[in-house]
């Protein structure tokens, strides 16, 4: 189940990245297929798997192949740029880049509010055009009689309702 979640995450990150970057930039990477083959191991950017199943760049150019050959020798011979290039061959995003986050939450929140607002309009229309009359027990007269009865029978005399009524002056405190 964890593997399938990793696949979905890889697919999702691949989808959004494809939308946001140019096709030329994608050409060298493993995501330039329309249909992803889920029966083979896939690359994923996850904080909890530092070494994904496959390297990010599968189809190496001649230059990259030469670098891979050099990697087979002593690593002290590699320059800093070469080490970084090797890292970028096997990994798409660094940990810092993975943790980066985006401004997507603003879009999401905005979308939520838009739809909530629209729903509010629908509910308002429903209240005006669909609902029938309110029960007679909510009319002013009834509520006044009800309140008087509640005061008479001393509802919640310690903390609540009748506590707020001044029985001597016959008014609210």
């Amino acid at each position: 189940m964890l593997a399938s979640r990793a696949l979905v995450r890889g697919l999702q990150s691949g989808f959004w990245r494809r939308v946001s970057t140019s096709s030329a930039a994608w050409a060298a990477h493993t995501h330039d297929v329309d249909v992803v083959d889920c029966s083979v191991p896939q690359y994923n950017n996850r904080l909890d798997t530092p070494l994904p199943d496959v390297p990010f760049v599968r189809n190496l150019s001649a230059e990259q192949k030469k670098l891979k050959e050099k990697e087979k020798g002593s690593w002290t011979q590699l320059t800093k740029e070469e080490k970084l290039a090797l890292y970028r061959l096997t990994h798409e995003l660094s940990y810092a880049e993975m943790r980066q986050g985006s401004k997507e939450w603003m879009t999401v929140l905005g979308g939520i509010f838009i739809f909530l607002g629209f729903t509010g309009l629908l509910v308002w229309w429903q209240r005006v055009y669909v609902y029938g009359d309110v029960p007679h027990t909510l009319s002013e007269e009834w509520v006044a009689q009800q309140t008087q009865r509640m005061i008479d029978m001393r509802v919640n005399p310690v903390h609540g309702f009748s506590h707020k009524w001044d029985y001597e002056k016959k008014q609210w405190k």
């Binding site: 009865r149 008479d152 029978m153 310690v158 903390h159 029985y167």
Partner: protein, 76 residues
């Protein structure tokens, strides 16, 4: 590139040693705060209410107002 070896064991114990006293302390504070802001005033309010409570007077007042079915107001 020689970094110190990170802590490999006792991570949960270390976290608990730090967080449990805080958790217990905060819980006790929450309970004490609730006791002294809610339950004690409430008990006091009830005690004050019933200290000078004349149940007969209240009963007669309610009877006159006509809320009872077992006794009608004196006048009928």
């Amino acid at each position: 590139m020689s970094l110190p070896k990170p802590a490999m064991r006792g991570l949960l114990a270390k976290r608990l040693r730090f967080h449990l006293p805080i958790a217990f302390g905060l819980s006790l504070i929450a309970a004490a705060a609730f006791k002294f802001t809610v339950t004690e005033p409430r008990k006091q309010a009830y005690a004050d209410f019933y200290k000078h409570y004349d149940s007969t007077k209240e009963f007669n007042a309610m009877r006159e107002a006509g809320v009872f079915e077992s006794v009608r107001p004196t006048g009928k």
